[in-house]
């Protein structure tokens, strides 16, 4: 076999290519097969000095080794990879000269070649800890981004050991490229991701964010109430076209789905009530339960949750997008108040249509209840009579009044989140999500407060 140039350093060094198993194959040889070169692969324990097989370009290599040998010497030896003298193949030769290490790099430094010489170039630097590293680039014929990365890592490895680096011999254009790509700090601190905050700092930051949000909410609430008051006193200044457009989207377009939900809620409530009531022979009570629950609570609540999901998110998305595209800034620099211009029409529209939606929802809930009661031989007249006797006008007015307050909360939160949208493509989505979640939570909290207040007022 003709002599070839060794590519990997002597075999008394553990090269870490992995344990060769019987019937296995050398991973390093597999990688090198991508290169345009001829290889000799030898396992000294098996093949002996000068033994081995020659692998042609593109040829697969598959060796089997006795299990006993691999078990006895698991980490010491692997394949010795040689290459033919091909000037395009990247290679590294390392020559220690006292406390100076000469690293001669030859060939094309491309993305496919560089990984193969990476550890060969850097391993000796880490192991021998020289005072100076001299990189001889006279044999480098081409250098792309990966090649620049190799030079950068040589500098980085040397800098970590306090060694200096001299790169010499590069062609003029390559030298210019390497010089331009030279990192200002060879240790490359820019590779380190920003340190995440520790738990205490995160907790503190979260608390500050909540306080900041609370402050913004209180401030916005004041601005909004002032703007609404001003608008009610100057109705001609209100943007009626915007208000009716929002009312149509938030109200008229939601009637069908609100009615459907109301019907289903009434149906489900009637079914669930029928099961225990039937046991006690108290089916007469079912219309009372359904109508009171739907008209006082569930009708307004379900309608408002739907408005939060449909319209609250839309407000946040619309105004958030306007914030990101600087339309809100444009309004301000024109001397227009974004709260009066954008928020007031939306909030007033929501407050107009949501009570109507809650009435629709409640009515359809009562209808849904009847579809169950028909099975218990309730006529429509009997059912309506039971409903009329159970429901008082305070229940109806209380439900409608609550929905007005809920609508104010939904509109205000949606618009506030829109105005506080941050930067970046995820910001609008983030605002929308927070608007919906915050609206629903606050609506249910408000409902709880109303429940307590109504109880003590005897309503």
């Amino acid at each position: 076999m003709a002599a070839l140039t060794p590519l990997v350093e002597p075999l008394d060094q553990p090269c870490g290519h992995g344990l060769l198993r019987p019937g296995g194959s050398c991973e390093l040889a597999k990688r090198r097969l991508a290169m345009d070169a001829t290889f000799e692969v030898a396992h000294p324990l098996v093949d002996g000095p000068g033994g081995g097989i020659r692998i042609q370009p593109g040829q697969r290599h598959h060796r089997s080794h006795p299990t006993r040998i691999c078990r006895l010497l698991p980490r010491v030896l692997c394949c010795r990879i040689m290459s033919s003298k091909n000037p395009d193949v990247a290679s590294v030769e390392v020559l220690p000269q006292g406390d100076i290490l000469r690293v001669a790099i030859t060939g094309r430094l491309t993305a496919s070649m560089v990984p193969n010489v990476w550890s060969n170039a850097l391993g000796p630097i880490r192991q021998s800890r020289p005072r100076q590293v001299i990189v001889d680039g006279s044999g480098v014929t081409y250098c792309d981004g990966a090649g620049l990365a190799l030079f950068a890592q040589i500098r980085r490895s040397a800098a970590m050991l306090g060694a200096s680096v001299v790169i010499e011999g590069l062609a003029a254009d390559l030298n210019e490229l390497v010089r331009l790509a030279d990192l200002p700090d060879p240790l490359a601190p820019q590779l380190r991701p920003n340190k995440p905050l520790d738990v205490v700092s995160q907790a503190g930051k979260a608390a500050l964010d909540v306080l900041d949000d609370l402050r913004a909410m209180v401030s916005f609430l004041g601005e909004l109430l002032a703007a609404i008051t001003w608008t009610l006193l100057h109705p001609r200044q209100l943007r009626w076209r915007d208000l009716f457009a929002v009312a149509e989207k938030a109200g008229a377009n939601a009637v069908a789905v609100v009615c459907l939900l109301g019907f289903l809620i009434g149906l489900i409530l009637a079914f669930q009530s029928a099961i225990p009531m039937q046991r006690f022979g108290a089916t007469e009570v079912i219309p009372i339960v359904v109508s009171v629950a739907v008209i006082r609570e569930l009708g307004p609540l379900i309608a408002c949750i739907l408005v939060a999901g449909r319209s609250g998110s839309a407000f946040a998305a619309e105004i958030g997008t306007m914030k990101v595209t600087e339309e809100v800034n444009a309004l301000q620099t024109l001397g227009l108040d974004p709260v009066k211009f954008l928020v007031v029409p939306r909030v007033l529209a929501a407050m107009m249509v949501t009570p109507l939606l809650s009435v629709f929802c409640s009515l359809m809930g009562v209808v849904g209840g009847y579809t169950v009661m028909a099975n218990y031989d309730f006529t429509i007249a009997r059912y309506l009579s039971a409903v009329r006797n159970a429901v008082h006008y305070q229940d109806f007015i209380g439900g409608v009044a609550k929905s007005v307050v809920f609508a104010f909360i939904i509109g205000a939160i949606g618009c506030l989140r829109g105005l506080r949208t941050g930067a970046g493509p995820g910001a609008v989505g983030d605002s929308t999500t927070r608007a919906v979640v915050a609206s629903i939570v606050l609506v249910i909290m408000a409902d709880g407060i109303f429940g307590v207040v109504f109880y003590y007022l005897g309503i």
Binding site: G145, A149, D173, E176, P184, L191, A423, G424
Partner: protein, 275 residues
């Protein structure tokens, strides 16, 4: 042309003499290209090529179809007629995996940067290396970092795109476009919205990358100072005629074009004029 750009142009003049007229196979060839929009022809009868190592500028007035032509060249749209050969392969006829493979032969920097907002600048530049090479993570990290160093953004590696200025975003976009060391880079209005100093530094960067990496550039722009600084040749589109009306060296076109509209185009206004 500003004094700064004149000096820059002179220093790099020898580069222009090398290898661009060697008669070799062009890296891009556009043949009888035609584009339509909503059934109407917006561009027709466009034929030109891009030589290896060349900086070719596509210029024209607003609405003349410069970006449309560029988007067809990078395979985002299919032409209504003609061929677009990228290194010998017709990108207009390619689909699916073949198109994806062709698209990896070039890099694109969009007008607004189009950086991925949820990733840091370093991650943006590293993404093509992670997806399309087998480079180990350490090598990919440093490769991306050196690309950022080339565009002067190494200290912004861990920042999000939303934290960068417009000029920095464009530089980061160029770094991402060259991360795979493509033979061709397409730039769509790289100087749009930038101040003259930043625009000049971007021109210098393009010339440096062209000079050192041998990358061919196809640039859509209507900034006259940039055209005179960086362009080896210019393709001039006319929106009214919906076709190419000139192809050549910008100085020659300015002074000696037989088409008076083209001469007026290049002579319009004082230095620093835009179209």
């Amino acid at each position: 042309m500003t004094r700064q750009n004149q000096q820059l142009s002179k220093e790099l003049a020898p580069r222009r003499a090398r290898g661009l007229d060697d008669g070799g196979e062009p890296i891009i060839r556009v043949e009888d290209f035609r584009a339509t929009y909503g059934g109407k022809t917006v561009l027709k009868d466009i034929t030109f090529d891009v030589r290896r190592g060349e900086v070719l500028v596509i210029a024209g007035g607003s609405g003349s179809g410069k970006s449309t032509l560029l988007k067809h060249m990078i395979g985002l749209y299919k032409p209504a007629g003609g061929r677009i050969l990228i290194d010998g392969d017709d990108i207009a006829a390619a689909d699916g995996p073949q198109l994806a493979r062709l698209m990896r032969k070039f890099g694109v920097a969009y007008q607004g940067g189009a950086l991925f907002g949820s990733m840091t600048v370093l991650e943006n530049v590293k993404l093509p290396l992670e997806e399309f090479t087998d480079l180990p993570a350490e090598v990919a990290d440093l490769t991306a970092l050196t690309k950022l160093q080339l565009v002067g953004l190494v200290d912004a590696a861990q920042k999000l795109p939303s934290e960068l200025s417009g000029g920095m975003q464009k530089r980061a976009a160029i770094a991402r476009a060259i991360s795979l060391d493509p033979a061709i880079v397409f730039l769509d209005e790289p100087s749009a919205g930038l101040d003259p100093i930043t625009s000049a530094s971007l021109d210098e960067l393009i010339l440096t990358l062209n000079h050192l990496l041998g990358t061919s550039f196809v640039i859509v722009t209507h900034e006259l100072p940039s055209i005179f600084t960086i362009a080896d040749r210019v393709v001039v589109l006319n929106g009214t005629e919906k076709t190419m009306v000139a192809l050549g060296d910008p100085v020659t076109l300015r002074d000696h074009s037989p088409n008076p509209w083209v001469r007026d185009f290049f002579n319009r206004g004082a230095p620093g004029a835009t179209l």
